[in-house]
Amino acid sequence: MERILIIGATSDMGQAFAQACALQGSSIMLAARNGDVLDRMAKDLRARTQVAVSTHAFDALDMEQHEVFYQDLPERPDGVICFVGLLGDAAACQQSFEVARRVLDTNLTGVVSILDLVANEFEKRGRGWIVGVSSVAGDRGRAPRYHYGCAKAGLNAYLSGLRQRLFKSGVFVMNVKPGYCRTKMVAGWNLPNTMTSEPEEVARVILKGIHRKQETLYVRWMWRWIMWLIRVLPECIFKRLKI
């Protein structure tokens, strides 16, 4: 039986992932800011399954507390997945560095802070898996939401470096770039159905990806090609486009 730590568990993808893991029999440690939602989730998982579920307060921005948080976990996790992310308001990011910094810290600094602790432990132990949920927005900076994009680009680089470092010690690192997904982050957006996944689908695909040791995961296949195209467009054309 695996013990899985889910950071940012109250996100829609986090909730779906927790449920999928619990149903396959893994014990679950849920970490997030909102204690009420965490308690509700834990109650739900205990009714659905018989696995052990615990809840832990975690704030990605409160980086000084990360070490205490990680050491205080009741059990050492076999796998860690981080769903922490903040889209932020693009216009506000451009106007106020405070807002922009919050986006950068939530998506990048805070995630690096906690995953470094996990990585050090897993490296020493010589086993485990780490999944970072990044975004297709990190594949190339674009005018709408480039603060979010640059943080996710940083996370992509971090995860790829981490993978190389931990490969020798047998620790598996995965980078998930979901593409459009129907979550509260994009509530009210008009998204094309064929390119948009459901949180449950993301959870299923990630679990399968961990099993198959897929290193970079796009949830729906077309995103890999769309992002490839966006990446290879020459800058002189790209800068004129509205995408």
Partner: protein, 446 residues
């Protein structure tokens, strides 16, 4: 999740009618209370698996995000869940632990709230009744935001009004349900071929002791073969009977999908006749028995995602009626002849013998129920109108969860408690926020 209001086109499973509606989502009771604070007509919408317009209105409350499991007692098999949870989620969680749904409809993709509101039935109705019979208690939010906890002991009238009440008494918040103990995920299935209607009905009436029974009818076969079909009976398999299979294994993940609406009219008399003939003749032995997984016994159509799209964008209508047992034999035959004379065929026709049911407004009554699918077209409306008269004359009625066109007079004539139901709903609907659906408006209930 906030109360985001969105205008979107919505429909139920038959894709007829399609309406523009304002949709409100919620995942906490408090958010629902805020949404109900806005005056106007509103109805709950679950997973959109009723067929007609029962969950359609200009403003709808989407319940699918309100789906937490609240408790489960592994000793008694009593579970309590929020109303947006799907039956599929219950199966996923509890079949491996030896519990099954007390009543299964033909699809597992309905919400618990919808199952209660339509008081759905399954292949075991003759012995175990409808879904409502297994509901222990409910919590319902009324239009004024108050929450009523009801059961057979507490507010029994309100409880009776909510079971089968088509969502008109309020928004069902959570459902406490008694599950049924099983020994395995497998079903011992027996298939009996019947070469005409009377044979099929004899088979139904002589084998009441089977827990599950249902029949497929070839509506296109005429003459001597009128009403030929196949009766399927089932029994949950015991541990000894599943030797060689893993007791609670999940079904294989094989799943097909219809990715877009197929052309209107692809399903026509010719293609249906070919299909029915192949389907009927695939079973060469008169009686065949085998062990099947519960998924394929109860939910064969769930293996094809979006199967409703094979009828084309115009959509389809189900016509499901029930007739008292005494008139049933003659009446079903007459109705099949009527359909044949019309030249329209029903692709899927499902026949079942219901048991007794005491209820306020629910569909089932002791007798034969036949469910027919027709692609939406002009002639179908005319045919159904004529069938209405036959069904009403023989003392039968139509299933509200599948209806998109019955008129007020037909409803009043065929549902014995129609007047009482209307009055009770009117009493509850006193405030500025009122529960009503396109169905309840059409039938003159609201």
């Amino acid at each position: 999740m906030v109360n985001k209001m969105q205008k979107q086109k919505i429909a139920d499973w038959g894709n007829y009618p399609v309406v523009e509606a304002e949709t409100v989502r919620f995942n906490q009771a408090e958010q629902l209370r805020v949404a109900l604070g806005e005056p106007g007509e509103v109805i709950a919408y679950g997973n959109g698996r009723s067929y007609g317009d029962a969950s359609l209105q200009k403003r709808v409350i989407m319940t699918r995000s309100f789906r937490s499991f609240l408790s489960f007692d592994s000793a008694s098999g009593v579970v309590c869940c929020e109303s947006g949870a799907l039956l599929a989620e219950l199966l996923e969680a509890f079949v491996p632990r030896g519990w099954f749904l007390p009543v299964s409809p033909g699809t597992k993709f309905v919400t618990l709230g919808g199952a209660v509101a339509a008081d759905i039935h399954g292949k075991n109705h003759h012995g175990e009744g409808s879904f409502g019979a297994h509901v222990v208690s409910l919590e319902v939010m009324r239009a004024d935001g108050s929450i009523v906890r009801c059961s057979r002991e507490e507010y029994p009238e309100f409880f009776a009004l909510t079971i089968g009440g088509m969502g008109l008494s309020g928004v069902i918040l959570n459902v406490t349900l008694q599950l049924k103990a099983i020994e395995s995920a497998w079903v011992r299935q027996q298939t009996i071929r019947a070469s005409r209607l009377s044979e099929l009905m004899d088979a139904f009436e002589s084998f009441d002791e089977w827990t599950y029974s249902v029949a497929w009818v070839d509506t296109l076969a005429g003459g001597d073969a009128l009403g030929r079909g196949m009766l399927m009976r089932g029994e949950h398999a015991t541990v000894e009977q599943v030797q060689g299979h893993s007791t609670f294994s999940a079904a294989s993940q094989r799943k097909l999908n219809v990715p877009f609406f197929l052309p209107n009219g692809l399903l026509n008399r010719g293609t249906m006749m070919a299909f029915n003939s192949v389907y009927y003749h695939q079973n060469q032995k008169p009686v065949k028995e085998r062990l099947v997984h519960y998924e394929s016994f109860f939910y064969p159509l769930d293996a094809i995602g979006n199967w409703n799209r094979i009828y084309g964008r115009r959509g389809f209508m189900q016509y499901q009626f029930v007739l008292p047992r005494v008139t049933g034999r003659v009446a079903v035959e007459a109705i099949l002849k009527k359909i044949q004379a019309s030249g329209l065929g029903s692709f899927l026709a499902v026949l079942k013998l219901f048991g007794e049911q005491e209820s306020f407004i629910s569909f089932p009554m002791a007798g034969y129920t036949l469910a027919l699918d027709f692609p939406v077209c002009f002639e179908v409306f005319k045919l159904m109108k004529e069938l209405d008269a036959m069904v009403a004359d023989w003392g039968g009625r139509l299933y509200l969860a599948k209806d998109a066109r019955m008129d007020e007079a037909m409803f009043a004539k065929t549902y014995p408690h129609a007047d009482d139901f209307r009055e009770a709903i009117a009493l509850l609907n006193g405030g500025s926020t009122r529960f009503s659906s396109l169905l309840s408006n059409r039938l003159g209930i609201t």
